[in-house]
């Protein structure tokens, strides 16, 4: 056993796969310690907040300030409000309202804004200008008014008579240390369509998906193994019957069967465990076939015949004389089943046939909701890309482990 393990861990492929898988597992256990709470909690009101660090504006206003005189602060501020395209657009407006723009330097902010202030009128409707464009100019004007605004913002609050009373001011050179703001929240992967923390959800979903995969793999392997052993060792009519059913299941595309069963179960009954069970029940066939063929080649070996002659029971022969010889194969098959179980859950959920959504997050459900909310077309990559990456990493690591094991145990591949 020790020797086998040493051999296994000599395979670089297995080690890489193992390390990735363990890293994912460790993250699943460790991350919730730092960020506890319900992963399905809708913290954000609104859809798809960008990844980044958010700090409470309310708290920031009340945090003690430092004065920093940064040379390019004004330029940055202006750049935020007035991009190069905006400058071109200003010139376009000026020409549309018949202002002579010859000699006007587009980079001369002062001159440009002066012309703009003098000539922009929101009620004017230049010929052929679309409503969308006019709305754009309205927004631009509002943004430029911000730039022109006084150097200090006034913080005011209602006094007892209900009138606004100045409480303090904020100047352009006031800065606060983020560390001193009472409420800061980092959302490394932003929020999803429900305003949930994507990273937290992802970690929890990866866990659920791995559990679904393990359960599906276990069920599939157990069924496949049992039937394969019986069919291969007992043979005869038993073999015929088992192979009859196995062939039927092999011929019907597994995924179609999976869809039909999931659909007919109905959403109310579809918990994560049920989905795992369904996946397991539809994917055992090739394990069964391969186990059977290996058992057939084993059953006439001398040690098996000796056991038979010694009057050992069927169960004992299978467990002690046959199973150990195919154990390495079964482990590899199990790993592949886990991997395909995780993928199957993702595929099912993407079709809206996954586990019901209110209870646990799964990788497939996250993708499903991201797709329903068109995250892929509105640029919210954080809602689906990390999920795809996680699924890929999990199945990549499992497949790598499988290949590594194969190299160790399969005599034809052994170096």
């Amino acid at each position: 056993m020790k020797n086998t393990l040493r051999q296994v861990f000599h395979s670089s492929k297995f080690v890489v796969g193992f390390v990735i898988f363990v890293a994912i597992l460790l993250t699943m256990f460790i991350y919730p310690l730092f960020n506890p709470g319900n992963p399905l909690e809708m913290i954000g009101v609104g859809t798809f907040a960008r990844p980044g660090t958010y700090f409470s504006l309310y708290d920031a206003v009340k945090t003690p300030t430092e004065t920093l005189r940064l040379a390019n602060a004004d330029d940055k501020r202006l750049g935020k409000q007035l991009s190069d395209e905006d400058r071109v657009a200003i010139v376009a407006w000026l020409s549309a309202v018949n202002v002579n723009v010859e000699g006007l330097d587009i980079n001369d902010t002062e001159a440009l804004l002066e012309q703009w202030r003098a000539n922009y009128d929101p009620s004017v409707k230049p010929k052929g200008m679309t409503q969308a464009k006019r709305n754009y100019y309205k927004r631009l004007d509002a943004a430029l008014k911000e730039v022109d605004a006084a150097d200090t913002l006034i913080i005011a609050d209602k006094n007892e008579e209900g009138q606004l009373e100045q409480q303090g001011t904020i100047t352009k050179t006031d800065y606060v240390n983020v560390g001193q703001v009472a409420n800061v929240k980092t959302l490394p992967l932003g929020t999803d369509n429900f305003g949930r923390d994507v990273l937290k959800e992802l970690v929890s979903a990866a866990g659920t998906s791995i559990v679904i995969g393990l359960l599906a793999g276990l069920v599939a392997t157990l069924i496949g193994l049992t039937l394969g052993l019986l069919s291969g060792y007992v043979g005869g009519i038993c073999d015929d019957i088992i192979m009859f059913f196995t062939n039927i299941f092999t011929v019907i595309p597994g995924f179609v069967l999976l869809i039909l069963i999931s659909y007919s179960i109905g959403q109310e009954q579809r918990g994560a465990a049920v989905v795992a069970l369904v996946i397991g029940l539809t994917s055992w066939t090739w394990t069964c076939r391969s186990v059977r063929s290996q058992v057939i080649s084993l059953r006439n070996r001398d040690h098996v015949n000796l056991s038979k002659l010694s009057g050992h029971s069927l169960v004992r022969i299978i467990l002690t004389d046959i199973l150990p010889y195919i154990a390495s194969y079964v482990v590899m098959a199990f790993i592949l089943q886990v991997s395909s179980g995780i993928l199957a859950e993702a595929q099912l959920s993407l079709l809206g046939l996954g586990p019901k959504t209110t209870e646990v997050p799964t990788l497939g459900l996250m993708m499903n909701w991201a797709m329903l909310y068109s995250a892929h077309t509105n640029g919210s990559w954080w809602a689906y890309f990390p999920v795809i990456l996680t699924i890929t990493l999990i199945s990549f690591s499992l497949n790598l482990m499988n290949t590594g094991l194969d190299q160790v145990f399969n005599p034809t591949l052994r170096d």
Partner: protein
């Protein structure tokens, strides 16, 4: 074998080439106005007196007004100001003193496409055949209109009267003016004759030879596209109506597979007017810089006329017997999240427009006394209040499993809406999350639409506990009609019920008040009645609205066309997709973007 393969490939190439040729017979872009979000699937028929036409571009009664591109109504409804603008009929209609008869005249200029005059007889025949065959006009109005008399261009609509000699509902008579497309009497006779007066065949007649009065008619329709072409002989270019023809020569609607397909076409400028919900629509111009705009520049971007509502199933004893449970769930729901998520803020919040039976338009909001019901309203996310209410009602968790019980059984409800209706699904997720907070097990359930529609319209169903549907949006008979849909007894027990009160709620007191409204004309009295009804509704909570929502979405891409109606242009054209009710006026003002 190789030969066969080669031939097959050659055949495929040839077919593709033919397909490409067919593509090139496209309509001239600068004469065509493209739509999305109205027509799903191919057209079944052009039979205006039939049913199941699946012909949304020409035969569609929306609550924002009838779509009058091909078939016209007597009046156009403008939901911006509640006005009825004359279309086939002259602007002035008049009630007699006891509101049992309404008289109006057809415009002298109004003509059918075959050149004959539109007369009162056409209107009368349209109503009569509707009642005879039971199409939408017939079933919708036969309880409210007893008969229509015609005398040349003059029409008298006699309201149905009850035992006391009072009209059943004058408001619904007004709905007829804006909601019933008029068909030609002569054509109706042809259809009746060729179908041997058989109801089913009349309803299913394809109506390819239909006679119309509107500005457009069919050009071609297949499973890819529906195209209408302008009728340059349209009577409406007469000075007594529009004085000109609508600007686009063609109206085209490609048949898209789903919402994202239509949305992408809008982004690409292949669609000019899009009647689809687009999440975070402002990003299209703020972030993507596309020439797309909506009726209002700022949230809520459109005019919210309806309230998608979660209905409680009164067939389930646990819901029917526990007003506290109904109210507690409604109080615990986080409406801000629903509005921000499901509607991406394209709806006013319940803090801005407190919940009642009214939609958020000023006209309806003025119809009830806000102070009197203020104590009963809730803005949501009131977990403590909901918990207290449940505790007080004796619905407590006695076995410590985290869920409350009623009569010793765990309260377990489902929250349902059709699968794929994402904004509603998101709302149901939020409702389920609210349940978790107050110890009520609520799980979401999203059946396919075919299943959903048969269950929620079944008056005896016990499968769905909380389920979504929208009451009517805007029509001359609203808000009365909506109130009736929320609490009216007339829909209780009705099989295949698409009309209202989907939760089967019964309240005699409310019912009596609802019956009084249509015959009340005094504004103060009306306000009193509506306030009383709002009180009952907010106390009994037979259902709760989740958001406010436009009945039509109206996003336009100005790559080709411009001068679409906007909220501040002073024209008062409603954002009804340039097709519905008075919204069609927009078609006469469109301009091409130059350059």
């Amino acid at each position: 074998m190789k030969k066969i393969l080669c031939m097959a490939i050659a055949l495929m190439l040839a077919l593709t080439a033919i397909g490409a040729l067919a593509e090139t017979t496209d309509l001239p872009r600068n004469e065509t106005l493209y739509f999305a979000g109205q027509q799903w699937g191919s057209v079944n028929s052009w039979n205006i007196i039939g049913t199941n036409q699946n012909n949304s571009m020409t035969i569609a009664g929306n609550s924002g007004g009838y779509r009058t591109l091909m078939f016209e109504t007597l009046y156009m409804y403008n939901f911006m100001n509640g006005e009825l603008v004359g279309l086939l009929a002259n602007d002035d209609y008049a009630w007699n003193d006891d509101m049992t008869a309404l008289t109006l005249t057809i415009k002298d200029a109004a003509k059918w496409s075959d050149g004959t005059d539109v007369t009162g007889a056409d209107v009368a025949r349209t109503f009569d055949i509707g009642v005879q065959v039971g199409n939408n006009v017939g079933t919708g109005f036969k309880s409210y209109i007893s008969s229509i008399e015609a005398d040349g261009k003059k029409i008298t609509i006699n309201a149905a009267v009850n035992a006391d000699g009072q009209p059943v509902n004058p408001l619904k008579v007004l709905d007829f003016l804006t909601g019933a497309p008029i068909a030609q009497a002569a054509w109706i006779d042809t259809v009746v004759e060729r179908n041997n007066n058989d109801t089913v065949s009349i309803l299913n007649d394809p109506g390819e030879d239909v006679v119309w009065s509107g500005p457009y008619t069919k050009f071609y329709a297949d499973d890819q596209k529906v195209v209408l072409v302008r009728d340059d002989n349209y009577w409406g270019q007469d000075a007594s109506m529009w004085g000109k023809l609508p600007v686009p020569k063609y109206i085209a609607h490609a048949i898209y597979a789903d919402n994202p397909a239509g949305e992408n076409a809008l982004k690409a400028g292949e669609v000019d007017v899009c009647q689809q919900f687009i999440g975070n629509v402002q990003n299209l111009w703020l972030e993507d810089g596309l020439p797309i705009s909506t009726y209002y520049e700022e949230a809520p971007y459109g005019v919210c006329l309806t309230m998608p509502t979660a209905w409680y199933n009164f067939n389930l004893p646990v819901l029917a017997e526990n007003p506290a449970l109904r109210k507690a769930i409604a109080m615990a729901v986080d409406y801000d999240t629903i509005i921000a998520n499901a509607m991406t803020n394209q709806s006013p919040s319940f803090a801005d427009v407190p919940r009642s039976l009214m939609n958020p338009t000023e006209g309806e909001q003025a119809l009830y006394n806000h102070e009197e019901v203020a104590d009963l309203q809730w803005a949501g996310m009131d977990i403590d209040g909901a918990n207290a209410l449940l505790d007080e009602a004796g619905l407590v968790d006695s076995d410590g499993d985290g869920f409350r019980e009623y009569n010793g059984e765990k309260i377990s409800l489902n929250a349902c809406c059709p699968n794929g209706w994402t904004d509603w699904q998101a709302s149901m997720e939020v409702v389920a999350a609210a349940g978790k907070n107050i110890g009520i097990e609520i799980t979401t359930l999203y059946p396919e639409w075919d299943i959903y529609q048969t269950v929620f319209t079944n008056p005896n169903q016990t499968e769905y506990a909380i389920y979504m549907w929208s009451p009517d949006a805007a029509a001359p008979s609203n808000p009365w009609q909506r109130v009736n849909q929320f609490m009216g007894s007339e829909f209780v027990g009705v099989e295949n019920n698409w009309s209202g009160n989907w939760g089967q709620y019964l309240n005699e007191e409310a019912d009596a008040l609802i019956k009084k409204i249509p015959v009340t004309t005094d504004t103060e009295e009306l306000k009193k009645l509506y306030t009383e009804l709002t009180k009952i509704y907010l106390t009994d909570v037979p259902s709760f609205s989740l958001m406010y929502r436009p009945s039509l979405f109206h996003a336009v891409n100005e790559s080709v066309w411009t001068n679409f109606p906007t909220g501040d242009d002073g024209r008062n054209i409603p954002p009804a997709d340039c097709t519905d009710g008075y919204g069609i006026a927009a078609l006469y003002d469109l301009e091409l973007v130059e350059g």
